[in-house]
């Protein structure tokens, strides 16, 4: 392509000078540069917009595909995990139970072996036989020993005499126990009575009577434990009685101040006796 200056120089070399041609060329070149830049910018914008659209479409497509891939992977992994869970659950329930049973039987067998080694069954059988024999011998010895002793006359009479003595001693012991109990009871009663007397010696008659009424017939321990309490009870009752009396007296004095209606009771009129009848009666009295 030929330069603009050469073109113009060919076409209008007679009209335009060299300077004007140079200026025209400059202006033309500037304009061309501007237009080219503008066109390039427009092209850039157009291409960038198209590229953005293309990228967006590509992103959407890729994200959709990626989602599908992720879902497929999740489903696949979930199924695998479910299988793993079911397998391990089975292992935990059935296989663990089997393992436990196996372990128990092994421990049992081990204990059997250990005991068999240290305490053999033959030894145990022998021990049982010895024990049975010893028991049998003991019972035989006891039975035979008593029978042999009783078989002799002198031993028998001595045994009977001893038995009688034991029975007598037992009877005597029972009597003595009964007497001792009776004496013990009497002693306790006397001690209790003495205790009450000593304690109530300085008390007033009312208090003494109350204490005796409450504590007579009780054991000494009971009296010792409850004496102070009985005295306190009496004092409290006495105090309450006095308070009641005071209140009653106050109430009586208050009621005496009220105006009362005075009733004048007229004496029965003397019977008018007939003089001759009285005389007659007096005469009759003489002959009674």
């Amino acid at each position: 392509m030929s330069d603009i200056k050469d073109t113009l120089n060919d076409e209008a070399k007679e009209i335009l000078t060299n300077e004007s041609l140079t200026k025209l060329e400059q202006h033309f070149n500037e304009k061309v540069t501007l237009h080219v830049e503008k066109a390039l910018n427009e092209q850039d914008e157009e291409y960038s917009a198209a590229l953005e659209k293309f990228l967006e479409a590509l992103d959407t497509d890729h994200s959709a595909k990626l989602k599908k891939v992720v879902e497929a992977i999740e489903v696949n992994h979930t199924n695998k995990l479910k299988k793993v869970i079911s397998k391990y659950e089975g292992a935990l329930t059935t296989e663990a139970n089997d393992f436990r049973k196996d372990l128990v039987s092994k421990i049992s067998s081990y204990l059997d072996l250990y005991l068999e080694k240290h305490i053999p069954q033959d030894t145990l059988v022998e021990a049982v036989k010895n024990k049975q024999a010893a028991t049998m011998l003991g019972s035989i010895r006891a039975a035979l020993g008593v029978d042999m002793a009783l078989a002799k006359e002198s031993v028998r009479s001595a045994v009977i005499d001893g038995k009688n003595q034991i029975n007598e001693a037992r009877t005597e012991l029972e009597d003595l126990k009964a007497k001792f109990n009776a004496l013990d009871q009497d002693n306790s009663a006397l001690r209790a009575k003495l205790f009450i007397e000593q304690k109530t010696a300085d008390l007033s008659n009312n208090k003494k009577g109350y204490v005796k009424k409450i504590l007579t017939g009780k054991s000494l321990d009971f009296i010792k434990e409850n004496y102070d309490y009985t005295i306190s009870m009496f004092e409290k009752k006495e105090e309450e009685r006095l308070q009641d009396l005071t209140e009653q007296a106050k109430a009586t004095s208050a009621s005496s101040k009220v105006d009362r209606v005075v009733l004048q009771e007229s004496a029965p009129a003397p019977v008018q006796t007939h003089e001759p009848t009285n005389l007659y009666l007096s005469e009759l009295q003489k002959y009674k």
Binding site: R100, L103, V104, I107, S108, L115, Q121, L124, V125
Partner: protein, 48 residues
Amino acid sequence: MTQTYHNFISKVLEENYAEANKYLQQLVEAKLKGKIKKAVKSCKMKRK
């Protein structure tokens, strides 16, 4: 009896050896009783 075994194993696993020893004693006692019963039975059978 099985429960005693289970208790023994669980106590061993917990490293509670004092409790495990108690269960082991119970197991050994039961085993010994069984052996003694067996011996007594065999003696009675022989006597008959």
